[in-house]
């Protein structure tokens, strides 16, 4: 589904990301972990063509991401709060995203209704603008908005941060369901090793912009990751 080859991004002489080859098959739940500055968000931004690769390319469904825009209809993402439109209510925001993705109001209502317990009664019908919601609730709205329009690829940057424990557990259920039952390719980055090993079939560790580990998730994975990060933390 997503093929990365010879990809690199540098600012001046500093290379922040360098991935020679990475291939993510369709329907995989893919986790990206790494310390701050490892290049997680840079990789996601390249996937969404928000920044220009210095070398190499990413192919999503055989489409060159930085040349064609045809990947947009089947790709959606929530990177940070700047993906939200602060002066809309959550409902208005969902409808707006829905219209961009060719969904009518009824479609959006149907989809959003499935996430009622995820919202915990704090998003819908509140008559509040998104900018007035708490960080956690903004995130919930943004994540659900990324699910509108049956995308094949969903990219979530740090989805677990800022969420309360109940919501974290529910979000894990949603992500697993997407990948296993609906065949959606889900890309997730996180600092929380436990969550990411729970959710993802495959985990890639980035360090200073390069892939240092590429693991199939099993019982030993969490231990291995913890060992890796506690070792590399020592300075």
């Amino acid at each position: 589904m997503i093929e990365t080859s010879n990809l690199s991004k540098s600012y001046g002489s500093k290379t922040v990301l360098k991935i020679d080859s990475l291939s993510i098959p369709k329907g995989q739940s893919f986790g990206l972990v790494g310390n701050n500055g490892a290049g997680k968000t840079t990789y996601f931004s390249l996937l969404l063509d928000l920044i220009k690769p210095s070398t190499g390319h990413i192919k999503s469904n055989e489409i060159l991401v930085h040349q064609s825009e045809d990947w947009k209809p089947f790709t959606s993402a929530f990177i940070d709060e700047s993906f939200l439109i602060g002066y809309l209510t959550p409902e208005e925001y969902f409808y707006f995203i829905g219209e961009l993705r060719g969904q009518n109001k009824a479609d959006v209502d149907n989809l959003v209704a499935q996430f009622e317990d995820f919202f915990h009664g704090e998003i819908l019908g509140q008559k509040k603008y998104l900018r007035d919601l708490s960080k956690g609730n903004q995130k919930k709205a943004g994540i659900v908005a990324a699910l509108i329009g049956n995308p094949d690829v969903i990219i979530l940057d740090e989805p677990f941060a800022n969420l309360d424990p109940t919501t974290q557990i529910r979000l894990k259920g949603i992500i697993k369901n997407l990948a296993e039952k609906q065949g959606v390719t889900v890309l997730v980055s996180s600092h929380d090793l436990l969550h990411v090993t729970d959710v993802c079939e495959r985990i890639v560790v980035l360090e200073k912009g390069e892939i240092v580990k590429d693991l199939e998730t099993n019982e030993a994975t969490l231990k291995e990751l913890e060992a890796h990060f506690s070792g590399s933390e020592v300075i």
């Binding site: 700047s82 439109i85 602060g86 809309l88 208005e92 993705r101 008559k127 603008y129 329009g149």
Partner: protein, 493 residues
């Protein structure tokens, strides 16, 4: 925590801000303005005494000046409201530190006393006082009078912050201050309460009896305390954490549906304009723009200058276009990343903005029809200007927008907020305003008024006919600068 720590922090804030290098041009412009005003005030101060003596030969210049002080104070209050802001300081990081709250507040307030606006009057009043002394007025009295002026300046300084915080809470923007100032002026003008007289008597009293200086000192102290209380109450986190419970009245705006595929963007734009402080003010400016013609048309001096009508027409019918258009696409800078990763047709996005601007021109033209009272020629010129605005200026301003690299925070107060203003906004004014003026002026001089109108109209129609082609070209410009815009908009200024 000492004063030097505060100063150190501010120094770093200024020089390390992300926009420091970029806004140098703007700063130079501001310094230029400041110098200009300083020199003007100085010259005014030097020539005030002989000037007043010449104009009012049978009055003591000092008394004459006192009788005008009321108007000076009124103008000062208005100017400050629009131009001066309470010096801001990011206090949040200081709150958990062992710094007394009182100290922070005192510091912020005292700093405001050193504003440029408080020094500016000195450039006029000190030379005037020196002149008074040379003319043999009693030294003690003159000094008391000058001191009173300084005190009044400071009183205005602190009064302004009270007014400002009041009007920012009520969302009425600059309406209260205009009503207040207009009311006081009217009361004075129609001799109901002669404020000019009162102010004059007050200053004369201090001049005659310097001990009365205590009154302005008391007023100043009182205002300082009011400000102190007000600021201190804001210095708790809960005032910023408290969620506003403003009920949202969501409207469907079904009528936009008839615009087809640009409807979602039009709805978004209309909500953007109406729900954010910064953009909402461009609606208020509409009213000012619409009345702009009244500055010129009733004045017989302009009646014989028809070449000027088209310029006024471009402005009157295009005020929204200029005001809203100059910040395309920066209005959407807060969520530009999201838009760029969505499945959108860029051309629709721009077309929606174009449609909004075009509609505003049509509406403003209709509203400006009453200007026909001042002559048919004006209506004709306005019509030509409106067509020109739709056909040419909308495209020019959209094209200019592709060079926009400055983020806008939609929640900031609007009037005289220079955030998001870059070189683009200054340069775009040339083709926008001066080009039609030049075209019309030249054709008017060569071939007459009617031909001038025809030329503007034809240019406008040409633009409308070529609309699709022009939009394609403009869209490509936006696509070419996509990465640069995303990068610039994601940086905090």
């Amino acid at each position: 925590m000492r004063l030097k720590h505060f100063l150190n922090l501010e120094w770093k804030q200024f020089f390390r801000s992300a926009s420091f290098g970029k806004s140098v041009a703007l700063n130079i412009l501001m310094i230029f303005f400041a110098l200009y005003f300083m020199v003007s005030f100085l010259v005014m101060g030097i020539f005030l005494y002989p000037g007043l003596k010449k104009v009012f030969p049978d009055q003591d210049p000092f008394t004459t000046l006192n009788s005008f002080l009321f108007f000076y104070i009124l103008v000062d209050v208005l100017m400050r409201f629009f131009l001066q802001k309470l010096p801001v300081m990011s206090v949040k990081p200081l709150l958990p530190l062992p710094v007394k709250r009182n100290k922070v507040v005192h510091y912020v307030l005292r700093k405001s006393a050193f504003s440029f606006f408080n020094f500016l009057p000195l450039f006029a009043f000190i030379p005037f006082s020196i002149k008074l002394l040379i003319e043999g007025y009693p030294t003690g009295s003159v000094l008391a009078w000058l001191f009173a002026i300084i005190l009044v300046t400071l009183i205005i300084n602190f009064l302004n912050f009270v007014i400002e915080s009041f009007s920012s809470e009520t969302e009425l923007s600059f309406l209260p201050i205009i009503v207040l100032a207009g009311g006081v002026f009217a009361l004075n003008h129609f001799n109901i309460i002669s404020f000019a007289e009162l102010v004059s008597q007050g200053f004369t009293a201090i001049y005659n009896n310097p001990i009365l200086i205590l009154i302005p000192i008391l007023v100043l102290t009182g205002l300082y305390l009011v400000n102190f209380k007000q600021l201190k109450s804001k210095l708790y986190l809960d005032s910023s954490l408290k969620t506003k419970v403003t009920e949202v009245n969501a409207s469907n705006m079904e009528w936009t549906k008839r615009f087809g595929d640009i409807a979602p963007f039009m709805q978004l734009d209309l909500k953007l304009i109406w729900r954010n402080k910064r953009s909402k003010s461009s609606v208020w400016i509409l009213i000012i723009g619409l009345l702009y013609g009244l500055f010129f048309y009733p004045n017989p001096a302009y009646a014989n200058m028809p070449w000027f009508f088209a310029f006024v027409g471009v402005f009157v019918t295009g005020i929204f276009l200029i005001n809203f258009g100059q910040f395309i696409p920066a209005w959407d800078s807060g969520y530009y990343k999201m838009l760029m990763s969505q499945n959108i047709k860029y051309q629709q996005y721009l077309k929606s903005k174009w449609m909004l601007m075009t509609m505003s021109v049509v509406i403003l033209f209709v509203l400006s029809i009453p200007y026909v009272y001042f002559g048919w020629k004006i209506l004709l010129a306005h019509f030509a200007a409106a067509v020109y605005n739709i056909g040419v200026n909308t495209h020019v301003i959209l094209y200019g927008g592709s060079f926009n690299r400055k983020k806008i925070d939609l929640n900031q107060r609007a009037a005289f907020n220079y955030q998001g203003t870059g070189a683009v906004q200054w340069i775009i004014g040339i083709p926008l305003m001066l080009l039609p003026l030049a075209i019309f002026g030249i054709t008017y001089a060569i071939a007459g008024f009617e031909i001038g109108c025809v030329v503007l109209t034809v240019l406008g129609i040409a633009g409308i006919v070529l609309h699709q082609k022009l939009m394609k070209f403009i869209t490509q410009k936006y696509l070419d600068s996509k990465y640069k815009m995303i990068d610039a908009f994601s940086q905090d200024s």
